[in-house]
C-alpha cells in the first residue's frame, strides 16, 4: 500500500513538473543577458527594462486592463440582471430555455464567437477597434456572471424577501438591502471570472480588433509569430505573477463563500 502511494506521488509530481516547466522555462530565460532561449549567459534585468521602456507595449497593457475592467463591470451588472430575470421566471420550461441560451456562448468555440461577432459588427456598422472589442468582451462574460450569481440567488430563501416586504421595504430597498448583500460572494466571483476571461481572451479579440487597436494577447501572438524575443519572456513572468495574485484573491473569496470549483471557472 505504501509503495503504491509513492508511485502515485511520483506521477503527480511528474504531471506537476510538466505543467509548470514551460512557465519556469520562460521565467528563467527572461533573466538571460543573451538574446535567445538557448544558452544562459549571465543574469540581467535588461529585458524587464525593455518592457517598461516600450511605450507601445505599455499602451497595449493599459488598453487590455481598461477593456478588462470595463467589460467585467458592465457584464457583472448585466449578469446580475440576467440572474434575477431567470430567477423570477416561474415556468420551468422558459427557465430551462433561458439557461440553455445563456450557456450557448460558454460552450461555443472562440472561433465561432469571433467570426459571428465580426459579421454582426460589420452589418451593424460598428467600427472595429476599442468599441467592438469591449462589446464582445461584455457579451461573452455575461453568461459566466449569470452562472456565478444564479446559485446564490437560488440559495436565498424567498421568505427573506417576504419579510422585508412585510416590514415595508420598497422593491428597490429589497434589492439593495437584502438581495444584493446576500448574493455578494457570487457577484465577486462573477466579476473575477469576467475579468480573467477578458484578460485571457485571444481568439474573439483577434477577430474583432481591426487594425489600429490591440490587446496583450493579440500582441503576444503577432510577436511570437516572428520568433523568440526575450522581452516577451519578461512580460510573461510579470503576467504570471499578476495571474497568480488574481487566482489567490479569487480562491480566497470563493473559499469564504464555500463554492466548489466547477468547470465554468476554468474554461478558457
Amino acid at each position: 500500500m505504501k509503495r503504491q502511494l509513492n508511485w502515485g506521488r511520483l506521477y503527480l509530481v511528474a504531471v506537476f513538473i510538466v505543467l509548470y516547466s514551460p512557465i519556469m522555462y520562460l521565467t528563467y530565460y527572461s533573466f538571460n543577458s543573451g538574446g535567445t532561449m538557448r544558452e544562459f549567459e549571465s543574469f540581467s534585468l535588461e529585458w524587464y527594462g525593455e518592457v517598461f521602456s516600450d511605450t507601445r507595449l505599455l499602451i497595449i497593457v493599459l488598453n487590455t486592463l481598461v477593456i478588462a475592467l470595463l467589460a467585467s463591470l458592465i457584464s457583472t451588472v448585466l449578469g446580475i440582471v440576467g440572474a434575477l430575470a431567470i430567477r423570477h421566471v416561474r415556468q420551468l420550461r422558459s427557465k430551462q430555455a433561458l439557461l440553455s441560451l445563456n450557456n450557448v456562448l460558454i460552450v461555443s468555440p472562440d472561433v465561432i464567437i469571433g467570426a459571428s461577432f465580426l459579421i454582426l459588427f460589420t452589418m451593424a456598422g460598428v467600427q472595429l477597434g476599442f468599441n467592438s472589442v469591449l462589446i464582445s468582451h461584455v457579451a461573452f462574460s455575461v453568461p459566466i456572471v449569470v452562472l456565478m450569481v444564479l446559485p446564490k440567488l437560488e440559495e436565498m430563501s424567498p421568505t427573506l424577501i417576504d419579510a422585508a416586504r412585510d416590514l415595508g421595504a420598497s422593491r428597490w430597498q429589497v434589492l439593495t438591502k437584502v438581495t444584493l448583500p446576500f448574493i455578494k460572494p457570487g457577484i465577486f466571483a462573477g466579476f473575477f471570472m469576467a475579468f480573467t476571461y477578458s484578460l485571457d481572451d485571444f481568439a474573439v479579440t483577434f477577430f474583432v480588433t481591426g487594425n489600429g487597436f490591440s490587446t496583450l494577447s493579440v500582441e503576444i501572438y503577432s510577436r511570437a509569430r516572428h520568433g523568440v524575443s526575450l522581452s516577451i519572456n519578461a512580460l510573461s513572468t510579470l503576467l504570471f505573477l499578476f495571474t497568480a495574485l488574481l487566482v489567490v484573491g479569487y480562491y480566497f473569496i470563493s473559499q469564504k463563500s464555500g463554492n466548489k470549483p466547477t468547470n465554468a471557472e476554468v474554461a478558457p
Partner: protein, 268 residues
C-alpha cells in the same frame, strides 16, 4: 405586481440574448449562403463536400479525438491520485493554476522548449537519441494541446470522484473484488459523468484551436478553426468561412447530445 418586476429584469437580458446569441448564429447561417461576389448560392455547401474540405474535417476530427484521448489518459489518474492526497485542495489548485495563464504565453514557451536548441532536444541529446525536429510536427501540436487541456479534464473527473461514497469501495473490497475489478465495475461507471463532461470541454475547443496550429504546428495541421480563421481574416471569403462554422456548430450540438448535454454533473 410580480409580473411587472419580472419584465423589468427580462428586458435587458433578453435583449442581450437576441443581440449576441441568436443574431450571431443566424448571421452565420445567412452568410453561408453567399459566395465571394455576394451572390445567393448553395455553392459553399457543395464545396464543403469536396475531398479537400472533407479531408480537412476528418483530419480535424482525428486530431481532436487524439487530443481528447490523451488528455483523458493523463488526467484520470491525476484526478484519482489528487483525491488520495492529504492536501487535496492545494494539489487541485496547483494543477489548475496553469490554465489561468494566457494560452499564448504557454504556446510561446513551447516554441523555446521544442526549438532545435531547446530543453527537449537537450534532454534527447543527453539520453543519446540526438537532436530531432520537434517543433512544427504533429507530435508537438498534440503535446501542446494536451498540455493546455489537462486541467479542464482533471476538474470534472475530480469532482465526480469526490462525490463517490468511499463506502462503495469498501463494500467492493469486502465482497472480494480486486483493485482492477473495483475500478472497472465501480469507480469508472460512477465517474462516467465527469469523464463525459471533461471530453466535452476538451473535444469542442480542440476542433477549433487555430493559434496553436499556427504557432506550434507551422500550418501542418489544419483544423476547422484554422480554416475558419483563414477564410475570415486572410482570404476574406466569409461565405465559405461561415459554411465551415455552420458545420462546426452542428458538430458541437452533436457532441453535446452524445456526451449527455448540459445535464452532466461535472459541468454544472
Amino acid at each position: 405586481m410580480m409580473t411587472r418586476a419580472r419584465n423589468i429584469y427580462l428586458v435587458p437580458y433578453v435583449l442581450w440574448i437576441v443581440l449576441f446569441v441568436v443574431a450571431p448564429i443566424a448571421l452565420i447561417g445567412y452568410y453561408s449562403l453567399f459566395d465571394v461576389e455576394g451572390k445567393l448560392t448553395l455553392g459553399n455547401y457543395a464545396r464543403f463536400f469536396t475531398p479537400v474540405y472533407m479531408k480537412m474535417t476528418l483530419n480535424s476530427f482525428w486530431y481532436a479525438l487524439l487530443v481528447t484521448l490523451w488528455s483523458l489518459v493523463i488526467a484520470y489518474p491525476t484526478a484519482y491520485l489528487i483525491t488520495r492526497t492529504k492536501h487535496k485542495q492545494l494539489w487541485l489548485l496547483l494543477i489548475i493554476l496553469p490554465s489561468w495563464i494566457n494560452l499564448l504565453l504557454k504556446a510561446y514557451a513551447f516554441i523555446g522548449l521544442f526549438g532545435t536548441y531547446g530543453l527537449a532536444n537537450g534532454l534527447l541529446e543527453l539520453i543519446g537519441i540526438g537532436t530531432r525536429q520537434i517543433l512544427f510536427t504533429d507530435f508537438s501540436f498534440i503535446f501542446v494541446s494536451v498540455y493546455i487541456f489537462i486541467p479542464f479534464m482533471v476538474l470534472p473527473i475530480y469532482n465526480a470522484l469526490e462525490e463517490l461514497p468511499p463506502s462503495l469501495l469498501d463494500a467492493s473490497r469486502d465482497l472480494g473484488a480486486s483493485a482492477w475489478t473495483t475500478f472497472r465495475r465501480v469507480i469508472l461507471p460512477l465517474t462516467l459523468g465527469g469523464v463525459k463532461a471533461g471530453c466535452q470541454v476538451v473535444f469542442i475547443p480542440a476542433l477549433s484551436l487555430f493559434m496553436i496550429t499556427r504557432l506550434i504546428a507551422g500550418n501542418r495541421v489544419i483544423t476547422l478553426g484554422t480554416a475558419i480563421e483563414q477564410h475570415f481574416l486572410v482570404t476574406q471569403d466569409w461565405g465559405m468561412g461561415a459554411t465551415i462554422a455552420v458545420f462546426l456548430i452542428l458538430m458541437m450540438v452533436l457532441i453535446m447530445v452524445v456526451t449527455g448535454g448540459r445535464k452532466t454533473r461535472g459541468a454544472k
